[in-house]
């Protein structure tokens, strides 16, 4: 019986809805337990990151202006696409060292987490808004609005669930983002980009890079057109550098070093709220007749 040669996948990065290799031409080999090379992963550069920020900024206006209901449908669509490609993710997770059961659980939980956040897209506003009863004759209300372009350094220990957990609350809230995937477990990140690309999510809303946090964290945190940064690892030196660099343009920094990804506490509308700004609008109320009007 003639054996068929398997077609291997070239793992790329995801910028502006496109799948380029890194502009630097660099790669790092990803090996399995036996030491065989499974893939050559893009070693993304500062320039790749800067390109991704341009894409994210370009996508922000349109994405943030979408109705919450529309974002909700798109997140749900991502979940549908992921569900449909479950087997591929399970096999990648097994390749990266998980047991069958753990791989199955991780994919299921990832799908469910997307559905969870899909539901929040048009609801967190009601939870975090307020009509403020000011003493003067004004209508005054506060609403959350997305912070803008968010850079994310995803957890190292998880290939898929980590990625979904960090991206979903950011885009549910109308932000665009650039995510650095797990360096040692990057396979699902690239495949997840394919899911995103086939799920009506506009290009540039999520950009995914592979590479090293040690190399990129200072660029992620010093870029002047990045509004916020979320960091999901535990390296104290990187945290310090990130916080210092953040002062260049008053970035919002969130360090999630205690999040247990598989726990229900790793999903919450408060995680959406972290990347929201509160906007308060005032307008006078005309006084007609004797009784003052107000809210």
């Amino acid at each position: 019986m003639a054996t068929r040669l398997e077609i291997q996948k070239t793992y790329k990065i995801y910028i502006g809805g496109q799948f380029p290799r890194t502009e630097s031409g660099r790669f790092y080999p990803l090996k399995n337990k036996k030491g065989d090379i499974m893939a050559n992963i893009c070693q993304s550069s500062r320039k790749d990151f800067r390109n991704a920020v341009v894409a994210a900024r370009g996508a922000f206006g349109g994405w943030s202006a979408r109705a919450g209901f529309n974002r909700s449908q798109i997140l749900y669509r991502i979940a549908e696409m992921l569900e449909g490609r479950k087997e591929q993710f399970i096999s990648e997770l097994i390749l990266q060292g998980l047991t069958d059961k753990a791989a199955n659980d991780e994919v299921s939980l990832s799908v469910d987490r997307l559905v969870y956040y899909a539901g929040w897209c048009d609801k967190y506003q009601a939870v975090f808004s307020s009509v403020n009863p000011v003493a003067s004759s004004h209508f005054n209300f506060s609403v959350p609005e997305p912070t803008g372009v968010v850079a994310i350094i995803a957890p190292e220990e998880s290939s898929l669930l980590g990625l979904v957990t960090v991206i979903a609350p950011v885009i549910a809230g109308g932000n665009s983002c650039i995510v650095l995937a797990s360096e040692s477990k990057p396979l699902c990140a690239v495949t997840f980009a394919e899911v995103l690309n086939s799920s009506d999510l506009p290009g540039g809303v999520v950009n995914i890079l592979t590479g090293s946090s040690e190399e990129l964290h200072s660029h992620f945190s010093s870029h002047m057109d990045v509004n916020a940064l979320s960091y999901y690892r535990k390296n104290k030196n990187e945290i310090k550098t990130i916080k210092e660099n953040a002062s260049l343009n008053v970035k919002r920094i969130f360090i999630y070093d205690k999040l247990v990804l598989a726990s229900d506490k790793a999903q919450s509308p408060y995680l959406i709220f972290d990347n929201q700004e509160i906007k308060t609008t005032w307008h006078p109320i005309e006084n007609i007749g004797s009784a003052k009007a107000g809210y």
């Binding site: 005054n140 509004n227 509160i278």
Partner: protein
């Protein structure tokens, strides 16, 4: 319209409309010659043994001496706050609220005294300190007092807890009001406080310390220490502070953010601004002009959310500018203690020099300079209301915060253009919109990358209303339900 005609005002103000002097009585004020640090419920001498003068910027005369806190004093204050936190965070929330209510009431009772001292020490006109600063400060205590035992209703599915010791550093433009913005929510949330007022305006904070001592608030819950940047740095770098809340310049805010990078300290920053105040051709023009005047000349323009960049739609630019000049001509600049005064003294010589430097820069950049013709006192620090017409987006006077009574004017044709220009700046604190069309207001409001949008009004504040910036204007909110969040963990 030629430049020469443009610079003419439309109305003649050379009439007999001069106001008789109406000075506020200052005799009922009691001030000491020298003020110590308020630590652990008592006024104590500073370890540094140093005192610095605080003056009246309208007369340049010394009012009192104020202690300069050094690192040891800061440490002492933090220790007192830490010790007090153990008890304060455990007393019932209802009782905590009652203490804060009591502070609010005492402040209302002594409101006039606070207003007069605020005006003496800071240069703002008595009309504003009496009608805005002090009542609002009292209201902030009153409003937040009520939250103390209701916090779990504010944050669904969360159990709010205090952070610990909050280090709070406030600016000189609204000394008492900023102290209230900072202290009231911190206490309501169960924290204890070390607060440092700005070095030019310490007196109302020290009077507040007296009031707090008299209120029976447990010792050490609020500590008020005075000094300049060095004292502030010692607070920021103190290892036993859990949270820093800072209101002031973006430069200093960035330094603070950087210096606490290696720590777990929480941070809120309320920094500079350069707000766009936008008048559309369908705006009620007289109201808009009034709003623009209030937007930039309120508190001598020493307002982080001042409407310092005016954008006027081209079709109405001539009439708006003429009316602005007319209205500027009627503004009374002078003795802040006079009840008729509209624009008081610039807060310090340093700030006056900074404003004058920016006026020079604006002239050199080629914008058209215009000031009202009013006389200003020969002594004290004063600045005439100032316009720069035909300013460009790239001018430094358009991009940088001047923090004085200086307005730049740009015109625009389309909505897209003005949104682009309004947002094309590092700041994002506030914005103003003037139009009679409601649907336009909601569109522009949602597109302004700024934390507070005033539509057909400007410079309105309320304890129930969250305040704070986007981008380099800082993060975190003060006021309202959202203003509690920075003082809680969940």
């Amino acid at each position: 319209m030629s430049k020469k005609q443009e610079n003419k005002i439309g109305l003649d103000f050379k009439t007999d409309w001069a106001y008789a002097p109406a000075p506020e009585d200052t005799k009922h004020i009691t001030l000491q010659k020298q003020y110590d640090l308020f630590i652990d419920g008592k006024f104590v001498k500073p370890n540094s043994k140093k005192y610095f003068d605080t003056i009246n910027p309208a007369t340049e005369q010394k009012i009192a001496e104020v202690a300069e806190a050094d690192e040891k004093d800061v440490d002492k204050a933090v220790k007192a706050a830490r010790k007090a936190f153990e008890k304060w965070s455990k007393i019932s929330a209802k009782e905590r609220g009652k203490y804060i209510y009591r502070i609010a009431r005492l402040m209302q009772e002594r409101a006039r005294e606070f207003a007069v001292i605020e005006t003496m020490n800071g240069g703002k006109c008595i009309r504003e300190s009496r009608d805005i600063d002090v009542p609002l400060a009292a209201n902030h205590f009153f409003y937040n007092a009520g939250w103390a035992d209701k916090l779990e209703y504010a944050f669904p599915n969360r159990i709010p807890q205090p952070l610990g010791v909050a280090g709070q550093i406030i600016p000189w433009n609204f000394p008492l009001l900023m102290a209230a913005w900072k202290i009231a929510p911190a206490l309501a949330a169960g924290n204890t406080v070390v607060l440092k007022p700005a070095e030019t305006t310490s007196l109302t904070a020290l009077k507040l310390a007296e009031l707090i001592r008299d209120s029976g608030l447990p010792d050490g819950v609020v500590n008020i220490i005075t000094g300049a940047g060095k004292t502030g740095a010692a607070m920021v770098n103190h290892p036993d502070i859990n949270k820093i809340a800072f209101t002031g310049s973006t430069d200093v805010g960035k330094m603070i953010q950087k210096s606490i990078a290696g720590t777990d300290k929480k941070l809120t920053l309320e920094l500079g601004g350069k707000a766009a105040n936008i008048i559309f051709e369908d705006a009620p023009i007289d109201q808009a002009v009034e709003g623009v005047i209030n937007g930039i000349f309120f508190n001598q323009g020493h307002v982080c959310c001042a409407g310092s960049r005016l954008f006027v739609q081209e079709s109405i630019a001539d009439i708006v500018i003429r009316k602005l000049k007319d209205r500027m001509e009627s503004l009374i600049v002078g003795d802040p203690m006079d009840k008729n005064t509209d624009i008081g003294a610039i807060n310090s010589k340093e700030q006056l020099l900074k404003i004058q430097e920016y006026i020079k820069i604006g002239k050199n950049e080629g914008a058209d300079f215009y000031q009202s013709s009013c006389t200003i006192p020969s002594k004290g620090y004063f600045c005439r209301p100032t316009l720069f017409l035909n300013a460009s987006q790239s001018h430094r006077i358009v991009q940088e915060e001047i923090f004085g009574p200086v307005l730049t004017i740009q015109t625009f044709r389309t909505i897209e253009e003005v949104i682009e220009k309004a947002n094309n700046i590092a700041y994002g604190l506030s914005a103003g919109i003037w139009t009679d069309k409601g649907s336009k207001i909601f569109n522009i409001s949602s597109k302004m990358r700024a934390g507070v949008v005033w539509a057909n009004t400007y410079n309105k504040f309320d304890p129930a209303s969250p305040f704070g910036g986007y981008k380099e204007s800082g993060f975190g909110r003060e006021g309202g339900l959202h203003g509690l969040m920075p003082y809680l963990k969940f």
